[in-house]
């Protein structure tokens, strides 16, 4: 995936000027946030569940090595082959080898952000395979040559009109005069096209929302049922998941699923929740002949030992971006890599380096709404601040910002000097006021879009000293 995070500011400016994107953003995100609010209000024990979810994940992360081993042994008993992939390169190679071994030509895919992270589609296509995304949103962006702009609603940046135009452009075997006005008509058409691909596929690749250590099971939740067809129809099923998807027990999954659907879409539970343990057994009516589980690290075990560990509690619900004012203004593509929004602002610097992704943790008002809605109680603003500290330590923040900070700190650290300067400076500054607004050079970043309210004149400390001395205000 092309990395454009260093150009975040330019990306954001372009996104703000994109009328089509702004129209798309104004409806779907706020709708998801409202539905999450209603679902949360309808479940009195929601806060207790969040706490329990946090506890489950913290416990798992503290014992991750043991749970990974337990999973491997249980999954192997069930007939799956478990592969550990230290890096994206390793994961791509493992999956390519499985496809080659299976003599695959067509690969169907369920929605998987990890596959975006490792650039899987490009690798498979370069090896001559036909790759078909089967999640509707993923299918839409695949046919447009785009990347997901949201972790659960990858095509959230598109409007219905754009989808209709793409379908008419690509699905040329269908009658030209067909109606594509209702969303249901678009869905039906996608289903018709994808059904053939499901049946033709040799290998199906899905992600996993959870991997259960006690049973060796992988779990996916979808609303379209595409995941089920992707994993049960082809001869070979590959599960691609990162190490932090691990949970100890089936019961734990019950807790986390109650949080996941409500936080993501406001549903009590997703339409399809599928548990798969190994390939088809003797006597099973269907299912793949072989099942592989590829477990990706890609820098996560380093995170585990760092101050960013808590980000590994994430269950990828997307609530943080649905409630983020910055994401709501610019959408997901501006973030410039796989994971957008607050979770991306914490995860991306860890995966591609803070020098590449420095803007992401800085582009936050620290309003704290992401943390407030996170089902896993990840302190996202605090973790973004850690990245800012990391950036400052490396000297990677802008020279202007560092200089400004230094001058300000010189005064702020010396109260006498500070107040003397303010006592002199503020009345002078107010000379630049015109009808309540300051007209100043160098204030362009503020005044490009807003007036700068003028100071009242003297400082509070100066006026207070007067009142203490008996001078009336």
């Amino acid at each position: 995936m092309k990395l454009t995070s260093p150009a975040f500011k330019e990306n954001a400016t372009a996104a703000l000027a994109d009328a089509q994107l702004q129209r798309a953003l104004s409806s779907v995100g706020p709708g998801l946030a409202a539905r999450r609010g209603a679902a949360r209000a309808g479940l009195p024990e929601f806060e207790a569940l969040r706490e329990e979810g946090r506890r489950i994940k913290d416990h798992t992360l503290a014992n991750l090595d043991a749970y990974l081993e337990a999973f491997e042994s249980k999954a192997s008993e069930a007939g799956s082959v478990v592969h550990f992939a230290p890096s994206a390169v390793d994961a791509r190679a493992i999956i390519l080898e499985i496809c080659r071994h299976a003599g695959a030509r067509v690969v169907t895919k369920g929605k998987s952000m990890i596959s975006e992270e490792i650039g899987l589609n490009d690798a498979l296509e370069a090896a001559g395979l036909e790759v078909v995304e089967t999640d509707l949103g993923e299918y839409l962006i695949q046919i447009r040559g785009e990347t997901p702009s949201h972790i659960i609603a990858p095509a959230i940046h598109l409007t219905q009109e754009q989808v209709e135009a793409d379908f008419r452009r690509l699905h040329t075997s269908l009658p030209k005069e067909r109606q594509l006005i209702e969303p249901a008509q678009l869905v039906a058409e996608a289903r018709q096209i994808l059904r053939e691909k499901f049946l033709a596929a040799d290998v199906g690749i899905t992600g996993a929302n959870f991997l259960i250590a006690e049973t060796g099971t992988s779990v996916i939740v979808t609303n379209e049922g595409n995941g089920d067809l992707t994993q049960s129809l082809p001869r070979v099923h590959i599960v691609l998941a990162s190490i932090e998807k691990m949970v100890p027990t089936l019961e734990d999954v019950g807790t986390l699923i109650r949080l996941l659907a409500r936080s993501a879409t406001g549903q009590e539970i997703s339409t399809y929740t599928t548990f798969s343990t190994g390939p088809r057994r003797a006597g099973d009516p269907d299912g793949p002949q072989a099942c592989h589980v590829v477990i990706l690290d890609n820098g996560r075990s380093e995170l585990l030992a760092s101050q960013f560990r808590e980000v590994l509690r994430c269950i990828r619900c997307g609530a943080c971006m649905n409630h983020c004012p910055v994401y709501g203004a610019i959408g997901g593509h501006a973030y410039g890599w796989v994971y957008p929004g607050p979770i991306g602002a914490v995860l991306t610097p860890a995966l591609i380096g803070v020098r590449n992704a420095g803007h992401l943790p800085n582009a936050s008002t620290f309003c704290g709404r992401c943390e407030a809605v996170c089902p896993m109680k990840i302190p996202l603003p605090g973790l973004m601040r850690h990245w800012r500290e990391e950036e400052f330590r490396l000297g990677a923040s802008s020279l202007a910002a560092r200089l400004g900070l230094k001058v300000w700190a010189t005064f702020a650290r010396r109260p006498r000097l500070y107040h003397a300067a303010a006592r002199l400076g503020m009345p002078l500054l107010s000379l630049f006021a015109r009808r309540g607004a300051l007209k100043l050079p160098l204030a362009g970043s503020w005044t490009r879009h807003r007036d700068l309210p003028a100071p009242q004149g003297r400082t509070f400390q100066a006026l207070w000293a007067d009142t203490r001395a008996g001078v009336p205000r």
């Binding site: 500011k9 703000l16 601040r385 879009h449």
Partner: protein
């Protein structure tokens, strides 16, 4: 009504943390805070050794400077029974983040914790600690109120300002569409990412305008300057004030961003 801790005298000594923005840009908010605190039976002290809470450094990754300012502020207020700030953002820094900043410092961690326990945002202090349920000032008009993020989410400031505003008979409160949405200020964010900040504040001023209110109130001067600056630029005639000014009846001065 009034809650007394055993060690707190009948007439507690409140150290006013003025905040740098109020000190420099809008002293009338400081005087409004003094009046409200005195009306609530407090003695008010304004330590001279205070400057800024340190958020610009803390949120820019300069932890060492933030720690210096934390120690400076803690030392300046150690004689006070309470520390009160007319800002949820600065009060949150003092109460929530100072203990985090100094947690690894054996000498300062206990002082930071003791200090944090005394810190309150102004309006929540009046209501929750001093048991104030009504103010004597008068104000008539239709107002809307913006919940600033740090006060709302770090300190739970939400009902307290509404309770006191409801005690003013001539005042009608018209709520915003999404009371939990940020105004787009975010401190240095507003100048580092001005275009994004602008998109966020535009949504907020649209919501403000949609209420039909004539006055916009909030408890944080940073947010207020952001929203007032946008409303002025848009040519809207909505007066913007700190909630303490209205509660204290200190509305002689022109509203934020207005003047000759």
């Amino acid at each position: 009504m009034i809650e007394h801790m055993p060690s707190i005298p009948q007439r507690p000594r409140v150290g006013l943390f003025v905040t740098c923005l109020v000190d420099l840009f809008r002293p009338s908010v400081g005087f409004a805070a003094v009046k409200l605190l005195r009306d609530a039976g407090c003695e008010v002290d304004v330590p001279k050794a205070q400057t800024c809470c340190g958020q610009p450094a803390y949120n820019s990754g300069d932890k060492a400077t933030a720690q210096d300012l934390a120690r400076q502020t803690i030392a300046a207020f150690e004689d006070c029974d309470y520390v009160v700030a007319p800002s949820g953002s600065c009060a949150g820094m003092l109460k929530v983040h100072y203990p985090e900043l100094l947690a690894d410092n054996a000498a300062w961690a206990p002082r930071a914790n003791a200090f944090a326990a005394k810190v309150h945002e102004l309006i929540s202090f009046l209501v929750d600690v001093r048991g104030v349920t009504a103010v004597s000032a008068e104000f008539s008009g239709r107002v809307t109120y913006h919940d600033s993020c740090s006060g709302l989410r770090e300190l739970g400031v939400r009902q307290q300002p509404r309770l006191l505003l409801a005690s003013m008979p001539g005042l009608q409160l018209l709520e915003l569409a999404d009371t939990e949405a940020c105004c787009g200020f975010g401190g240095t964010f507003s100048v580092k990412y001005p275009d994004i900040s602008n998109a966020i504040v535009e949504r907020k001023t649209a919501d403000v305008t949609a209420t039909g209110a004539d006055v916009l109130l909030a408890g944080d001067l940073g947010c207020l300057m952001n929203m007032a600056g946008k409303l002025r630029r848009q040519g809207r005639r909505i007066a913007v004030r700190h909630v303490a000014e209205v509660l204290a009846g200190e509305t002689r001065d022109p509203a934020i961003g207005e003047g000759p």
